[in-house]
């Protein structure tokens, strides 16, 4: 037990840094320095420099800025509008009507833009007034918006998966493919909930959208084609082994530029703005990576992660017990950290524990991204709830209650993922490599 005192000291140091508002990447760097100082008297400056250089100049990381750039280009196109115009004739006759459009559109847009905040800001602003005008209950439109905007993070391309893959050194392609089925199951759960509302509740039964002609459906399919082709092309090329994620990302950028050119939104101005937007997000993640790479170095020098894993092992927790503990930990951390920071901050110590427990690291990546999504809409202080509050001006209590059913459905999906690990692991088995 006494050998765990340094662990407590290091966690305390980290929390003091974070609490004082030190930028998270720099706080990780400082904690790394503290760890090295505690465990050795080496002159760690040169090691810090080489660690940072080798972790940043990594080819497998290059998919990250490319996918971010692709999202930035599409974010500035009219894609969100055409996505909704296209989905509406296809889905609106289902019980639950336009709410399905909200779910499908938000998940698709979140998947390609890689940011649930951007999805809420663009798509949410567009759909909330429309759904209100059609008379849908606000709790349902806000709830589905909250849920679906985080769901997209599971569907490729997922920036969180790239960060996770780089940190634990697992194949990013396999992680992408592993997220597909859980993402689809989750979206079906959301859609099923809305469907049930449309079938069973009096209000829902009363809501039926006007009928559509085949012609309209045909136009709808053409309108959603760019999104389908982008997501399908990226996922498919990785699945069938035509391209590794970085290559799929480069082709995705080309595709996004073509879409934007067709929609006549590709100007010199939007091109430069999309690049600068990508620079800001990339540098933000880079600073986190700088800190976590040196913290990793310090941790492996100290041998603490192994010690901690042994200590956890001494409780003889079942893998399930460990997962329950980690879920709780991540939901708490998710209250004040974003997905990237959460992955980079915890994986240093969590990775050996998870490996010791015999849990597949690809599966754990899906688990981690899903819990990170749940944290975004955890009542009462999930980040997306505040975003929706800011957009709609509704009271946070109302937003939290609206999102609660979606949170519970995500929890159900997490239980399913734990009960049936094949949900994540089945599809990667069939990948062509």
């Amino acid at each position: 037990m006494t050998e765990l005192f340094p662990v407590i000291a290091i966690i305390l140091i980290l929390f003091v840094f974070l609490g004082f508002g030190v930028w998270i990447g720099i706080a990780l760097l400082g904690t790394g320095v503290a760890t090295v100082l505690l465990y050795s008297d080496m002159n760690f400056g040169p090691a810090m420099a080489t660690t940072v250089w080798s972790s940043l100049s990594s080819w497998s990381l290059t998919s990250l800025p490319l996918f971010i750039w692709m999202g930035e280009i599409l974010f500035r196109s009219n894609l969100s509008v055409s996505l909704f115009e296209g989905l509406s004739p296809i889905l609106r006759r289902l019980p639950g009507g336009l709410l399905h459009v909200n779910i499908a559109g938000c998940s698709a847009f979140a998947a390609i833009s890689g940011s649930s905040a951007a999805t809420l800001a663009t798509v949410g602003k567009m759909t909330i007034p429309q759904l209100k005008a059609h008379g849908y209950p606000e709790s349902l439109s806000l709830g589905t918006l909250a849920g679906a905007s985080t769901l997209g993070l599971l569907i490729p391309p997922s920036i969180n998966m790239i960060v996770y893959g780089v940190v634990v050194d697992e194949s990013i392609g396999r992680l992408f493919i592993a997220g597909v089925i859980p993402g689809l199951v989750l979206s079906l759960l959301f859609a099923g909930y809305v469907f049930a509302w449309g079938m069973l509740s009096q209000q829902g039964r009363a809501m039926r959208e006007q009928s559509v002609s085949m012609r309209e459906i045909g136009y709808g399919i053409i309108k959603i084609m760019p999104v389908v082709l982008l997501i399908g092309g990226i996922t498919g090329s990785i699945f069938f082994g035509f391209a590794v994620p970085t290559e799929a990302a480069a082709l995705g950028v080309v595709g996004a530029l073509v879409v934007s050119a067709f929609q006549k939104t590709l100007t010199k101005d939007t091109f430069i703005k999309s690049l600068l937007g990508a620079v800001a997000t990339t540098s933000m993640v880079m600073l986190l990576l700088v800190g976590s790479s040196f913290l990793n170095f310090g941790m492996s020098l100290s041998g603490l992660p192994g010690l901690l894993a042994d200590w956890i092992g001494s409780f003889n927790l079942s893998p399930l017990g460990l997962l329950v503990c980690l879920t709780l930990l991540y939901l708490v951390l998710g209250m004040f950290l974003d997905g990237f920071s959460m992955i980079l901050l915890t994986m240093v110590v969590v990775e050996p524990m998870v490996r010791d427990a015999g849990i597949d690291l690809i599966w754990f990546g899906v688990f981690m991204v899903m819990v990170g999504e749940m944290a975004l809409i955890t009542p009462p202080i999930g980040f997306n709830l505040f975003m929706i509050q800011a957009i709609t001006g509704k009271d946070i209590g109302f937003v939290a209650r609206a999102a609660l059913p979606m949170f519970l459905l995500m929890f159900l999906c997490l239980v399913l993922l734990i009960a049936f690990p094949q949900m994540a692991l089945w599809l990667p088995e069939y990948m062509n490599r």
Binding site: G21, I26, G45, S57, L275
Partner: protein, 170 residues
């Protein structure tokens, strides 16, 4: 005079941001060259390594630019609750922590480049490049980032400018 330095520095951050954007954009043709080369059965040497160098350059040259946009994430939950009289010293304290660490890192990165230059180290990959060349933009990125942190400290201490309020996480 002081204002001139202020605008001058801001121009430098923006220029580095543009450089970072250029590096980021160049990653794309680098990867495409690799794909096309593979289709045509030609091996294009060094594309992977150069992609990595562009990655490091893009990520670090944009650090100061992103800092100016309040783009680096932090936990602002506690700091936001502080009154103005307490908030300023706490903000400056975290800036001092930041400059101590980033400054230390920058100094060691400079040493690393000088060493690579002295020994004329080459990359072990297929690009066989002198390694100090791609290391320069990364070092420049960190040095400019350090300068921008000092800039904010000085501005908030002496120019009485409000210490900037960070946007929230994500």
């Amino acid at each position: 005079m002081l204002e001139k330095i202020d605008t001058g520095l801001n121009t430098i951050y923006r220029l580095c941001g543009y450089l970072s954007a250029l590096c980021l954009a160049l990653i794309c043709p680098m990867v495409l060259a690799n794909i096309i080369g593979r289709w045509m059965g030609v091996f294009v040497p060094g594309t992977n390594e150069i992609g990595g160098y562009l990655m490091a350059s893009a990520g670090t040259l944009g650090l100061a630019y992103t800092f100016g946009l309040n783009g680096h994430i932090r936990v602002s939950m506690l700091v936001d609750r502080l009154g103005p009289s307490l908030r300023k010293p706490v903000e400056i304290l975290s800036l001092v922590v930041a400059i101590a660490l980033v400054g230390f890192l920058s100094r060691n990165l400079i040493d690393m480049v000088l060493l690579s230059y002295d020994y004329q180290d080459r990359s072990s990959g297929t690009d066989n490049m002198l390694i100090w060349i791609p290391q320069i933009p990364m070092v420049l990125g960190f040095v400019v980032f350090s300068i921008s942190i000092i800039h904010v400290i000085v501005a908030s201490l002496f120019a009485g400018r409000t210490v900037f309020v960070q946007r929230d996480t994500i």
